[in-house]
């Protein structure tokens, strides 16, 4: 036995190294793996298809959406999906490939205990019993979640859940204008005055932002944020805070940060909210045009500012300038009564009064 072990040891030392794979061999293996992946995908699709057929499910393909539904092909769902895809592809420059392998489940029938075994990680599901507008908004939320999943946790936390797709462009512009004008933090005020470096700081895109952001999002940083910024209003919230601070419940730390509105602001203490971050993301997508989202997700480990630059194809200053100008340019009627309106109203008043007084006879 000892002899055999000795021989094995000698062979391991003396045996020539295994020949390195050539590039051609590596390509061949990659191709084989791809082929196997395609085969497995086809096998899964066939199995899912059989399951759906057994359960009388339909699949709608609209834009990049693959929607599995038990509605028998609802026209309302198709129209809502069309409209949702138009928004998603316009606002985030998504291509149908972005949702490859992801499915959306729209359930119209009664609750089915076996339904959930079809929904895999990364898929989205919702109750389909809603108006067309309701379905569109559910599809937008599902799209946001799927896109955020691809964009990575950093982007998801920066822009808030769903990448802010639930807001229309004018709502985001209005929000940006209000936050700029009412900002109390120096960075917010300077951003309002047109300082793009300050805008970057206020939007958590400064040089140290990624490090601080990561820090704030670990449990200890959450506890510190609650300790420093949160004042409980009653015994229930005080108990939650105590559980958070003692380390018993990280969930309570999240809950406090969410419910108090602190988590709604980027990094917990930046001047601008996550809605403004989604406004910047969408500006970058607009500037970048076709393939912008793919460039954003190409390297999820890069700093956020660099990823936005890759997405837009221009420096981050230019993205912020475009976002800033867009917000400042929103149509906002001044609160005043123009002189011409005052004069016109008085002239009309005189005209009406003249009509009332002109007659000399009783009627």
């Amino acid at each position: 036995m000892a002899r055999a072990a000795l021989l094995l040891f000698a062979w391991l030392i003396l045996a020539p190294p295994a020949p390195a794979q050539t590039v051609a061999e590596q390509r061949e293996r990659v191709a084989a793996l791809r082929e196997r992946l395609r085969g497995l995908e086809a096998e899964t699709a066939a199995r899912d298809s059989a399951t759906r057929a057994a359960r009388r499910l339909d699949t709608l393909r609209v834009g990049g959406f693959i929607i599995v539904t038990d509605s028998g092909g609802s026209e309302r769902l198709r129209v809502a999906a069309d409209s949702a895809w138009a928004i998603v592809s316009r606002e985030l420059a998504l291509t149908p490939e972005a949702f490859r392998g992801r499915q959306v489940f729209a359930r119209f029938g009664r609750l089915d205990a076996n339904w959930s075994d079809l929904v895999r990680r990364g898929d989205q599901s919702f109750d389909g019993n809603a108006s067309e507008a309701g379905l569109r908004s559910r599809l937008l939320a599902a799209s946001g979640a799927m896109a955020a999943d691809r964009a990575g946790r950093r982007v998801g936390l920066w822009t808030g859940a769903g990448l802010g797709l639930q807001y229309d462009r004018d709502a985001l512009r209005w929000r940006a204008l209000v936050e700029m004008v009412t900002a109390t933090a120096p960075a917010g005020r300077a951003c309002n005055a047109g300082d793009m470096a300050a805008c970057a700081d206020a939007l958590w895109l400064g040089p140290d932002a990624d490090a601080e952001f990561t820090d704030w999002n670990d449990p200890e940083a959450r506890r510190r944020a609650v300790r420093e910024r949160y004042r409980p209003s009653d015994s229930v919230t005080a108990a939650r805070r105590d559980e958070c601070l003692s380390g018993q419940s990280d969930f309570n730390c999240w809950r406090i940060l969410q419910e108090s509105g602190l988590a709604g602001r980027i990094g917990g203490h930046a001047p601008f909210s996550s809605e403004n971050a989604s406004g910047v993301l969408r500006t970058a997508a607009r500037l970048g045009g076709a393939g912008a989202f793919d460039r954003l997700v190409a390297d999820t480990s890069a700093p956020l500012a660099r990823r936005l630059e890759a997405m837009a194809g221009v420096p981050v200053d230019s993205i912020l300038r475009a976002w800033w100008s867009d917000a400042r340019g929103i149509q906002h009627p001044p609160v005043r009564v123009p002189a011409r309106t005052q004069w016109a109203t008085l002239l009309w008043t005189l005209a009406f009064a003249g009509l009332a007084l002109r007659s000399t006879r009783w009627r």
């Binding site: 209000v178 009564v337 109203t345 009064a353 009509l355 007084l357």
Partner: protein, 217 residues
């Protein structure tokens, strides 16, 4: 003589004037009820502005309602009594109508004043974040002009003959009927839009269309 006309008109319009005045005072307070936080977050500011915008719609509605009500009330007892009282007075018709018109304006003054007082009180009591401004004076001016023009228009219609009133009322009803028929027949015709041009420049009610924000950027 003006005092007598004013007194009789006040007796006819006591309840509406009191109700309109109370509403005019209350609307500004309602508009800024969300502006009570000492250190509002941005989300609070957005919610407050949404509230100010939503409640601001009440100002033109109140202006129209107050103007039309008092304009119509100025003539209704005369119409019901066959103008006997007016005919017994030794004054020409235009002079009597002028007295009625002026009396109605005096009765509308407390409503306009209540908007201003309510606006000043509400914006003084609320915590308005930096970067936002209050517009109690501007909203009051817009309200006063809106009340004035709607009151005068209603006063003119109410002073017209029954035939003229029937023609005006019939024309409005006809426009609505044509609109309903056009929708039912699927015809691309929108006469209501023509009617609504009175609310755009240079229409008589253009003043109603401006921003009614008591607090804004």
């Amino acid at each position: 003589m003006f005092r007598e006309v004013l007194y009789t008109q006040w007796r006819w319009s006591t309840l509406p004037v009191i109700l309109f005045t109370v509403a005019a005072f209350g609307i500004p307070l309602w508009a800024v009820q969300r502006a009570g936080l000492a250190a509002p977050l941005e989300a609070d500011v957005v919610r407050m502005l949404e509230q100010v915008r939503a409640v601001g719609v009440m100002f033109p509605l109140l202006a129209a309602f107050a103007g039309v009500t008092l304009g119509a009330l100025a003539w209704s007892p005369d119409t019901r009594g066959g103008h006997v009282y007016a005919l017994s007075l030794p004054v020409p018709r235009w002079y009597y109508a002028l007295l009625r018109f002026a009396a109605g304006l005096v009765l509308l003054a407390p409503v306009v004043l209540a908007v201003w007082i309510g606006g000043v009180a509400a914006t003084a009591a609320a915590t308005i974040p930096d970067g936002l401004y209050t517009y109690a004076g501007t909203v009051t001016l817009r309200f006063a002009l809106s009340v004035l023009v709607s009151y005068t228009a209603a006063f003119a219609i109410a002073s017209a003959s029954r035939r003229t009133q029937a023609v005006i009322g019939g024309a409005v009803l006809a426009v609505i009927a044509v609109q309903v028929l056009a929708v039912m027949a699927g015809v691309n015709l929108n006469p209501i839009r023509w009617l609504m041009t009175v609310f755009s420049w240079p229409g008589p009610f253009h003043v109603f269309g401006g921003p009614w924000m008591l607090v804004d950027l």
